[in-house]
Homo-oligomer: 201 residues x 4
DNA sequence: TATGAATGAGCGTTCATTCAT
DNA sequence: CATGAATGAACGCTCATTCAT
């Protein structure tokens, strides 16, 4: 399986790239650092990824795929429909706590508007949306969510809002303490309940 | 009026810097580009701003001050308490549409964790929070907002959520169309009503 | 006395320049630092000194004049001819310990060959040589120095050698300790006695 | 022989660097000039030397190694012990005449106190001292040098004095002519005999 | 005479990308 | 497939000097 060997190496490089990005920051990391971390030659890196931007996009795709997998795991555990919704939001929180890189990637793409989502990037984004949408639709059908809720809109809105809250939590810790006296987790809990309140029937 | 002449030039440079940042992106813009845009010599730029980071911080301060001014103007026009809250959120929206740079700046400082907010930067951030808080407190006192609402938490949460939504609107337009069929404005309207619903008594 | 007022300011700037050169080093100091130290405007500095190089030359002239003055004081105290010669060499040592800048200046001019001695610089150099020469000639005439000593040659040689030794003392302290176990002062003493031994009759 | 090819290029760059330093001066030379002289790209220079300071240190090491090699050659030719000592001093003279850069390098590291000698730099300096010391010790053991001579002290002193004299010769030619009428070589000869006189038994 | 804002060539260094082997 | 030496444009920043006021 030559095929699998190549894929394996690709995965290894991707993991090293994640590590380097986490360590050095999305604005500072260099291709050199990745090459060193992965213990490969400069040219080899360009054999697998055609540019720095491409590598960044593929790391992002992987991160989003990981997130989707976690969504599925965590919602699978829950019986109640609204708990599944809560699980989605808490997973975003925990995912960010474990691998803050993910949220950096989101923000990075937002700041660098001219980096347009690649096809693969869009595709996994859509898969995430579709999954969240299915959770919401089921909850609605089961009557646990207001009849007049536009689930598609809500699905996207949850994504936007939770990213915004996570960024705030991540960078405005002092302000958070000073104004609310709450921990990050308590603050995020308040956010989740605000969302749930506004949709529950 | 020597004073005013220097201040005038400073303002001019700041405006050129804004333009360049908008055009080239916060991660890509160069001091050279600003120098060229402002039609001044390299050294002159460093006469007014001691480093690239300093310049960035001062542009951010200016943007936040502009935002606060707009908050005051727009809430001043409204009679109803909840309309004042709506005005805050709509102002963020319009402000971003006119000067999308502002939201990038917010996110930028969030992505670059080790760029610590300067004193001036923090101070204006707090002034914004305090202003929004006063609006919410008044609304609560007047009985238009639920008794059990934690206004300080809400104030911060509104900031986080609206930034997240604005980023999403800005970068995921295709997704927005595909999933909801809504315009940016309609989508943002839904967001505002979700917030209002969850706080009104 | 407008004249004296100008001369006074010139002297003040010169002293500030010395201070800055001592503090920041001959290779690192900037005209800005001098302007700040002397509390004058940039343009004013250039009113008194036509360039950085000119300023450096004039500081050097002043340093050499100070050295010559000290030579005269210290040799004046001594009765014995050979003690006067010793006094010359010890004065170089103490002068360097108090104002190491002097030796830096010497070295600086040596490293920067294309900085040619200005007329004023040469002139004070010659005055120093003539003074040392007169000390040596008197000692020779008094029979305390070998008859066949070429005093002019010796005078220059003493200058060269003591500068070399002072530089070595200044920068190779570790080597000095490791190889000889001597203090700077003891080492310099050995040097002086080597010189005296080789000329005394 | 990949190894040798890299070493060869390193040597070539080192030689070009020497040439540029000689031409432009140790305080003025730029990395750009070296790149141009060696006809390589800017980045290539940094592939071989990690900074300007590193390059300077390595050029100095090379110069000192060359000097030591010459010391060994020239002393090897001589039968008499004192002629070996003379050979050391004459070698310094000739070495400086051929590659005046060497003495500048010595002085440069002395002027720039905070450029600490790297390990390699110190090590070759010590090797030189040890070699000279061995010459002096042999001469002493053979009874050609005074019994009470401290050879370690003398070894260092010879280094210091000859550097001082060479600098003087190099930069005070006019003074030398005017005061002594001697050529550089004759003057240096006088210096050597002064040293020899003061140590011979 | 004194000022200090303005200049701009120049610096050391980095790094994404290429290509001959 | 893999290598890693080589590239060179671009970067943020400095500073001696000038000149209009």
């Amino acid at each position: 399986m030559k095929e699998s060997k190549k894929a394996q190496k690709r995965r290894k490089i991707l993991e090293c790239a994640e590590e380097v990005m986490r360590r050095d920051g999305l604005n500072k990391f260099s291709m050199d650092a990745i090459v060193k971390e992965a213990d490969i030659a400069k040219g080899t890196l360009y054999l697998y990824f055609k540019s720095k931007e491409d590598l960044l996009a593929q790391v992002t795709v992987k991160a989003r795929e990981d997130l989707l997998r976690r969504f599925k795991e965590e919602t699978g555990n829950k019986a109640e429909h609204l708990d599944k919704v809560r699980a989605i939001l808490w997973t975003s929180y925990h995912f960010y706590k474990e691998k803050e890189l993910y949220n950096d990637l989101v923000a990075y793409y937002e700041v660098n508007r001219n980096l347009e989502d690649t096809d693969a990037l869009q595709e996994v984004g859509e898969r995430i949306q579709l999954f969240v949408l299915s959770i919401l639709d089921n909850a609605k059908q089961a009557g646990h969510v207001k009849k007049d809720t536009n689930t598609a809109t809500l699905s996207l809105m949850m994504w936007g809002m939770s990213n915004g809250i996570l960024n705030l939590i991540d960078t405005k810790d002092t302000l958070l303490q000073k104004f609310t006296g709450k921990t990050k987790q308590t603050f995020y809990h308040s956010f989740i309940e605000l969302v749930i309140d506004s949709i529950r029937s």
